[in-house]
Subunit: 275 residues, 2 copies
Amino acid sequence: MTLRLTDEKMVRIINHDEYDLPTETEKNVAGVALSAILDVLEDNVGFEIEVTKHIKPGSGVGSSSASAVGAVVAANKLLEERFSRLELAEFALKGEFLASQGRHADNVAPCLYGGFTLVRSVSPLDIVKIDFPKLFVTVIHPQIEIKTSEARKILPTEIPLRSAIQAWANVGALIAALSKGDYDLISRSLEDLIVEPVRKSLIPHFDELKTASLKVNALGGGISGSGPSVFMLSETFETAQSVEKAMREVYGNTKIEFNTYVSEINSEGVKILDK
Amino acid sequence: MTLRLTDEKMVRIINHDEYDLPTETEKNVAGVALSAILDVLEDNVGFEIEVTKHIKPGSGVGSSSASAVGAVVAANKLLEERFSRLELAEFALKGEFLASQGRHADNVAPCLYGGFTLVRSVSPLDIVKIDFPKLFVTVIHPQIEIKTSEARKILPTEIPLRSAIQAWANVGALIAALSKGDYDLISRSLEDLIVEPVRKSLIPHFDELKTASLKVNALGGGISGSGPSVFMLSETFETAQSVEKAMREVYGNTKIEFNTYVSEINSEGVKILDK
């Protein structure tokens, strides 16, 4: 993503990828996020932004947040860092709203702060950075479309209190495990008994992916966002690569196209590559 | 609590307090916990236990767990530490079951491990110790009886997924806040929108207690166990004392008898005072 200041109070968007995303400011997440900045700026400036996305939209790995956060971080750099990180998050949330039709910071927060983040509250925005040990993630992105609206619709509106308590315990334990760097506890806590059992029906071969990954020592994982991507965490890069291999074998037997990615968990978030 | 080894495979219980607790082994939480130990011991020994409780049973601060855990820790000392802490927790849980008619380690875990503990799972038992900063607690124990069965009955069996998510966020944030020693975040996370709004109806003047405590800088708090005790956390001993004063003023205007307690959060759990 490349951003330039212009002397006209508007946003110009140039896409260099094949995904045919809209270039109208109000229909583009980066455009909306940048507009939100222009709305509060008294200066008579605007932005020209060039974007080359490397991940197909609708993956569930937060690529729309990447655009929104990337745009506001770059803009803030050009504006001599006049906004705080929390203000940038608010601008990015406006872009994210366009993509997900909801105010949620699940993707904006880690993209902006790096590493693991917990969103305690969205109104007011309360983002907590979570300490974590060295961790690697493997993602498989099946090239199928899951409509966010459908992924939401199949969730129950009410859940048993008993299940909620069990999930509270796992969430709390996961945060403690990350903070302590306790890999065994991370593994035991990566258990979602509420959303995963319902949503996995939208992802072909989900159980096989998980079983194959755990067999080669993944710590655990689940659905990324609302899918269709599936992520697995591992303690080492080598294990994460074995997990990738195992996932590719599962999907190699199907006719579904897919991409896989292996990465260390990024602890910095979006960053300026070149001034 | 004083424990002695005897040469007869049985438990003898002697109470020194005014609470008229049963001395039949199978009706006494310490008795049941000690029996659980005798059940797995091949040695031909038994226990004589003397108990002086200082907190009225049914307070909600976990006094039955204190008895169960105290008994098994003392017994383990006399048996030359042959059981692990997790094994001791299992014995104590059997005693706790008698008091609460449920297998839950909410009180047994902190009593045994000290400080803040998170029970990720009760079957199998998975207890996580949580790091925490210096903290002080103020407790008010109104001398009214809340039947555990009633306190349970008024809880909803189902809750909105939306509320559950909000609660997950607060639980996770509280664990992160304790680990980091972030007092502001502890304060913001001490928010229970599920159980407290329902159960507080069983505790006279709950809202007034909370308002008065927050006014003198308590970090936050809520119902202790299933009540009727109410706890508030503070950053300093002085604040915890101001909270005590504020709580006493609220209850001083009522005809309800009450006790208050101020203590630093104990980080050791039950301990051997004298061999």
